[in-house]
């Protein structure tokens, strides 16, 4: 059905020249639904605004509407911040756990690098060829210079710890960045956008 008939019905009220404005406490009561809801038209007393009076005042008074928009924004920030922080920390913890698994996999699968020992010379200590005299060894295997494992220190192998140390402050800075940019509270923003934002910040 064509909505024109209904659209025509809803005519916005013209801007008001009313010099009486509801106090901040009244706006707070309006937001929390604590104003009286009675039928009244015409003049009102200064200290007793009704729900409809405040609603209509806000539809015609730009200053009060802006004040209320700010109050709503603060309310939303108070609600949204813990959720946003929790989501960021969870995503970060999952990413770190995934990296830990990759790190552990690489530690197990990649062979430990070896170092070549200098070729040794067997020394006869039994005295058959004279004490301290070099002994010619016929077994050729003893002459092959062997590669011995040289394990790296943990701070080189477990690089995920460095990721933790670098990412943690970066995550904190990213949160501050989003907080300043007021994007952290956009709850409808997809996770991919947030991740992309973090990667960009990381880069």
């Amino acid at each position: 059905m064509n909505d024109k008939w209904f659209r025509e019905l809803i005519k916005p009220l013209p801007p008001s020249s009313d010099h009486t404005h509801p106090a901040r406490a009244v706006l707070q009561a309006y937001l929390s639904g604590r104003l009286p809801d009675i039928w009244r038209t015409g003049a009102h007393s200064l200290d007793a605004w009704t729900l409809t009076e405040v609603s209509q005042h806000l539809l015609t008074c730009r200053d009060c509407a802006q004040q209320l928009a700010l109050m709503r924004r603060r309310e939303l920030e108070q609600i949204a911040l813990p959720n946003a922080l929790r989501t960021h920390v969870i995503v970060y913890a999952i990413a770190l756990a995934a990296l830990l698994v990759v790190n552990a996999f690489l530690v197990m699968m990649v062979p430990t690098p070896g170092v070549l020992r200098p070729c040794g010379v067997a020394v006869d200590k039994t005295g058959s060829a004279g004490a301290g005299e070099p002994l010619e060894v016929l077994d050729s295997s003893l002459r092959v210079c062997t590669s011995v494992p040289a394990p790296r220190p943990p701070w080189q192998t477990w690089w995920v710890v460095w990721v933790l140390l670098v990412w943690t402050p970066l995550l904190g800075l990213h949160l501050v960045w989003e907080w300043v940019g007021r994007t952290i509270l956009t709850s409808r923003r997809p996770a991919a956008t947030s991740l992309a934002s973090f990667v960009l910040f990381f880069l």
């Binding site: 059905m1 909505d3 008939w5 209904f6 659209r7 019905l9 809803i10 005519k11 916005p12 009220l13 013209p14 008001s16 020249s17 009313d18 009486t20 309006y30 639904g33 809801d37 039928w39 038209t41 015409g42 003049a43 009102h44 729900l51 409809t52 405040v54 609603s55 209509q56 806000l58 539809l59 015609t60 008074c61 730009r62 509407a65 802006q66 209320l68 928009a69 709503r72 924004r73 309310e75 939303l76 609600i79 709850s187 409808r188």
Partner: protein, 147 residues
């Protein structure tokens, strides 16, 4: 406070619509004169049609239609993105009370029909409700001509 009869009548009609949404409206018979203080009988009949439809049919459907209309067709005076966000959050958390809704809280929030259905607690055919309101309006108009 405005005392211009046209603006005052417009305020009264919008107040009536708001009370229809909150279910604190007076009977249409008591509103007839008040809604046409400025002599605009056509506008008065249109709003009365909502009031009568609310009493004749399912009130939730008429309230839902009004919520949709004000949410989508009454512009917000200032940019207030938090308003829609808070409204949808309250809707999602089922903490939104119809008895606290106002035209200002709805204006510029662009709720879709699914939001409206959730808010009034039932699904309905909006076209049918609109047709019923229009039919009552035509009835009122016809009755006036017969007089």
């Amino acid at each position: 406070m405005e005392y211009d009869p046209i603006v005052l009548s417009q305020r009264i009609r919008l107040a009536y619509a708001e009370h229809l949404i909150r279910c604190t409206d007076l009977p249409p018979s008591e509103m007839e004169e008040l809604l046409s203080l400025d002599g605009d009988l056509d506008a008065a009949r249109r709003w009365l049609a909502f009031g009568i439809a609310k009493r004749r049919y399912d009130p939730a459907e008429v309230r839902g239609l009004l919520i949709y209309l004000f949410s989508n067709y009454y512009p917000s005076l200032v940019s207030d993105p938090a308003k829609g966000e808070l409204l949808r959050r309250a809707l999602k958390n089922k903490t939104l009370k119809l008895s606290e809704l106002t035209l200002e809280k709805l204006s510029g929030t662009y709720l879709d029909w699914q939001d409206v259905f959730r808010l009034v607690g039932k699904e309905f055919n909006p076209t049918r409700v609109k047709e019923r309101v229009r039919a009552i309006y035509e009835e009122l108009k016809g009755a006036h001509h017969e007089r």
